[in-house]
């Protein structure tokens, strides 16, 4: 696949600061992931940008003094995945109770 890369130039700053490049991703993933990663206490800075509107690329920046940026990114993705799982479970449960209540009333 190789849809994830790193922007060069951060090698001398330790493992905590990195800009990752996501291919074929948009604000959908970028903004959702940013709100999660930016709220980790270990993270000093987190932001994302789409450098050019005609290129399907997303730059995702993480800076931290305490942890490796790649670990924080992975944790963010795992949390977002868990969030999706929980949303599906909650939604389907609510849908079932709604349908059951509706079947009773009709």
């Amino acid at each position: 696949m190789g849809a994830l890369a790193e922007v060069a130039g951060d090698e001398s700053n330790g493992e905590g600061s990195r800009t990752f490049v996501f291919e074929n991703e948009t604000h959908t993933l970028g903004n959702a992931l940013k709100t999660i990663v930016a709220r980790y206490p270990e993270v000093d800075f987190c932001g994302y940008t789409i450098p050019h509107p005609t290129e399907n690329k997303l730059h995702f920046r993480i800076q931290s003094n305490r942890e490796r940026a790649i670990d924080l990114l992975k944790r963010g993705l795992e949390d977002l995945e868990a969030l999706c799982d929980h949303t599906i479970v909650t939604f389907e449960k609510e849908m079932n109770t709604f349908n059951a209540a509706n079947a009773e009333s009709t």
Partner: protein, 332 residues
Amino acid sequence: MPEERNQPLSYLNEFAIKQDPEDYGLADDVFSIEAFKQKLHIVVVRNDEDGLEFDMIGVYPAIANAFRRLMLSEVPSMAIEKVYIYNNTSIIQDEVLAHRMGLLPLKADPRLFSYRTEESPETGTEQDTLEFELKVRCTRRKDTLKDQAHFDDIYKNHKVYSGHLKWLPKGKQAQIYSESSVSCVHNDILITQLRPGHELDLRLIAVKGIGKDHAKFSPVATAYYRLLPQIELNREVTGKDAYLLQRCFSPGVIGIDENERAYVKDARYDSCSRNVFRYPQLMDAVTMARVRDHYIFNVESVGALKPEVIFVEAVKALKKKCRAFIDEIEAQ
């Protein structure tokens, strides 16, 4: 249930939007999946032929927006992608006709099909392609009387509808699907009009795609959210002013009791216009606000998938994205 928690509000003032002084816009709280599970509430409000309405309470704006964007542009559906025109003597141009065909909503369940790949042949396979034909020829009715002027009486087939599409099953498709489960959602979409001698002879190829590529693949007619409005009366409003106040809001929002006293009946469906601020005698009577983490989602399907399925598919699409990148990081 939502009344018990501390709701973050955005106040709608005459010219500005204000927040509570100690409210930092959810920006400084720490994310943990347990806290999210505690906070998230989903309540289904309505699910009928007009669409699905549900409340999502306790999420960040970016998450709610991601779900909305995913429903619009990342959930797949089937649509006509290629149109082979063997004959078109109608007055509508080939390219315009082809574009119109692409926009017809199809009933086929996209989950049962796969995307076309580079390897699949030009004509497609039974797993990734649906084929239709449209053969219509307009003729003059023989039994027409002289004084009849209505087109329906003098011409045959002068209006081409989406119902004229004929499904051509590929391979074993006829055993798995029926014509009614794959063809157009509506049979009465007018495609074009013909006159005697005009003829259409088309072969149509439908494939699976996503809304990011072309809007015709979007499974939703509309998918939007808004924040729950909250309206409070600061003082008693009676008599003539009560009726004036009622007219400042959407119908059904403000009620008037038997003592001609205005009260807030149901703020949910208010359009949040700030009409009250036009009347100096009413300005101080109301506090308008919106609950910042209470999203009212409205999802209206085009017809292939049910709205509740579209939402779940959207969340699954986001999950799949995350999984793909986690796997890539782990592989390094």
